[in-house]
Symmetry: C2
Subunit: 402 residues, 2 copies
């Protein structure tokens, strides 16, 4: 069993704060400052260009970081080793996965997604469809209807496993099987599942998966994204973003592109070395646990939170699935004055966030949130809600970025 | 006049090294370690999600960093303020520029480039052409022939201003004018010119420009790229990579993409905050100079280097243009055993690099390389070459990454 007191001790959390927003931006691993200082001063400063061959904490070279770190992520998402690579942002990785997938189903016209998907995935699909100009269609249906719309017209499903607003969890295995039965490919966005729930990409036979590392994986603001391509597609998927480092032999400087082997072809440009170094510090903490332990503790925390808040705050309506197996690692409540209420909570040190129109969102991250934190958060929420502290004018101003 | 002794004092350079490879990876600004520590410990660690609104060194918020830093780059490349944005890698920025440009010339089929372009730009064009599948053609001609191939079939030229091997400098203004006269758009890759030569994007009427910040701009390994879109196209160019942060209202979470205004639409995903923080430390040094001063000093340094090496090393053949106005800020020599010779030089502390088949490449970066460094480098090169030190077996092993 994971020693969660030990993992918690590895994070810096601001004083007097209960941080229930690790689903938006994970907090700082204490070791990240030292790792970053070493990457900057020792590696960049002293190694200079030789860092590409001998930099990185293990000395394997900066060039090897995207796949080396990819393997550490692979363990957390049930991916086969050697089939995850780091780089770019989640939007870019969605583009890569989608562009490859629709080319593998040239006779099909539909990209199927749902209205619970994060909008950026839909934007990327819309942009790609417009670029390609060959009559592709993005079909966006209600989350609960998505299975009913998987048919022989669908080239690929593009689904975020956990809804960023409500935490509703799709059944990856069942939807992937349904997609395959219809001859479609399944692309999974793990933004709100990687590090949050038990993901079994290999077991579910997912075709492509993408995700970010600045949420549950605590890689820091703007930390790099990852992409997974199933081994059976690894030598088939054509990289639409055919960049230098995805070439079979980047340093041959050939004028013609030849895709690299396997997941290497999903590399694009120069790897973000410093950002990857910060992520390493977080992955060291992830090495102290398993996703099974995380999931068990997450359910314990969210159950306690729902029970406590519902008992104390009848004005809040649960927006997340009540059944823990149907949700990720967040709990959302609907409340008409949710924006102001969240501001009032933040002023009291309970950090969640707000998503329009009325969602108060709280993330649960067992690496650094324990049952004591949940009990304290429930007490503060009860106090703020029942004393109507959210009704004060200072909490009703709108933020620039929520 | 710039105080180049003062700028040099702001860099950390390893002991006993003359670093003539700033055209591959710029060295560490001494202030970068402190700036990075502050971004990690103070901003990420203490501000957490509120950093998006109030992080960054100026407190304008992490979200504002891509355009705020873009404006600082704009000054160095002759771009209009408000028309440069940071993010992603150079390959991604090439893709964005090219995808937008060819859509603005829907009846034309040719993307024109030259064999002196960096291969990644060609790879990206090849990948995009294959994705679009509408008969576009990448025409790659000799660098000196490119003007002769600009005609009414050309949708866009895709040219790297300075050849990464020889340092040969294209005439941006003349080629852009020629492209416009033929109705084509001009995309300029500034990888080897930003921070190296005087670039005047606005004066040359360039349509799009892209570049990286880890070479002459000293942003660190894998530092973010930039893109420029001419003001006259800013509300016209459709972003093919239509990501969340390029949306007109990212935090409205609409299901449909609407491009943001101007250069904002070329943002894609979450900005790489930590990497941008490192870059800020370098741009503070850039604030101490002008590109006119840099260019004058660069010519002084390269002229001294060419004269010294040619006088002492008859076995080396100048591969760069002899006329300083026709080259960037690097000097290349051809030598059959160039790989081994470069290894021997590196062993003696003169750091350049090698590009197949026979190019020994040296970058000149006035911010931290002075005439004394050049004189010392010439002496060491003369010694190594004339004593045939490169002929020792230990220098003949091939590196993994050159």
């Amino acid at each position: 069993m994971t020693d969660f007191a030990a993992t918690k001790a590895r994070f810096h959390l601001p004083k007097d704060v209960i941080y229930l927003d690790g689903n938006s931006l994970g907090p700082l691993p204490k070791a990240a400052a030292g790792r970053m200082a070493s990457a900057v001063t020792h590696e960049w400063g002293e190694m200079l260009i030789t860092g590409w061959n001998r930099g990185g904490r293990d000395g394997a070279g900066w060039m090897a970081m995207p796949t080396g770190i990819g393997d550490r992520i692979a363990r957390l998402i049930g991916a086969e080793p050697g089939h995850v690579v780091m780089g770019d942002t989640l939007s870019i990785k969605v583009y890569q996965a989608l562009a490859s997938a629709i080319e593998m189903r040239p006779d099909r016209k539909v990209i199927l997604s749902d209205s619970g998907n994060f909008p950026s995935d839909l934007y990327i699909a819309q942009g790609l469809i417009q670029s390609l100009g060959r009559g592709l269609e993005l079909k966006v249906v209600a989350p609960e209807d998505i299975a009913n719309h998987i048919d022989e017209t669908v080239a690929a499903t593009l689904i975020t496993e956990v809804d960023y607003r409500t935490g509703r969890l799709h059944d990856m295995k069942a939807l992937t099987a349904k997609a395959h039965a219809a001859g479609a490919l399944a692309i999974w966005d793990l933004a709100h599942t990687a590090g949050a729930t038990e993901v079994d990409l290999a077991g579910a036979k997912a075709d492509f998966a993408v995700g970010c590392t600045y949420k549950y994986l605590n890689g820091g603001p703007g930390a790099p994204a990852f992409i997974y391509v199933a081994p059976r597609h690894a030598e088939v998927a054509r990289p639409a973003l055919s960049g230098w480092l995805g070439h079979e032999a980047p340093f041959a400087f050939d004028l013609d592109y030849r895709p690299g082997h396997g997941i290497e072809r999903m590399r694009v440009g120069t790897p973000p070395v410093l950002a990857l170094a910060a992520l390493e510090a977080s992955l060291d903490i992830w090495d102290m646990t398993t996703m099974a332990d995380i999931r068990a503790r997450s359910i314990e925390l969210t159950e306690a939170f729902v029970e406590g808040v519902e008992a104390a705050c009848p004005m809040l309506t649960l927006a997340s699935p009540r059944e823990p197996n149907l949700r990720g690692s967040q709990i959302s409540f609907r409340f008409e004055d949710g924006y102001a209420a969240m501001q009032a909570l933040i002023a009291r040190g309970v950090i969640g966030d707000f998503r329009a129109p009325d969602i108060m969102r709280f993330g649960f991250t067992p690496l650094y949130i324990d049952v004591g934190d949940v009990a304290k958060a429930v007490d503060i929420i009860a106090d703020v809600m029942n004393r109507r502290l959210w009704d004060r004018p200072e909490y009703r101003k709108k933020a620039r970025v929520t």
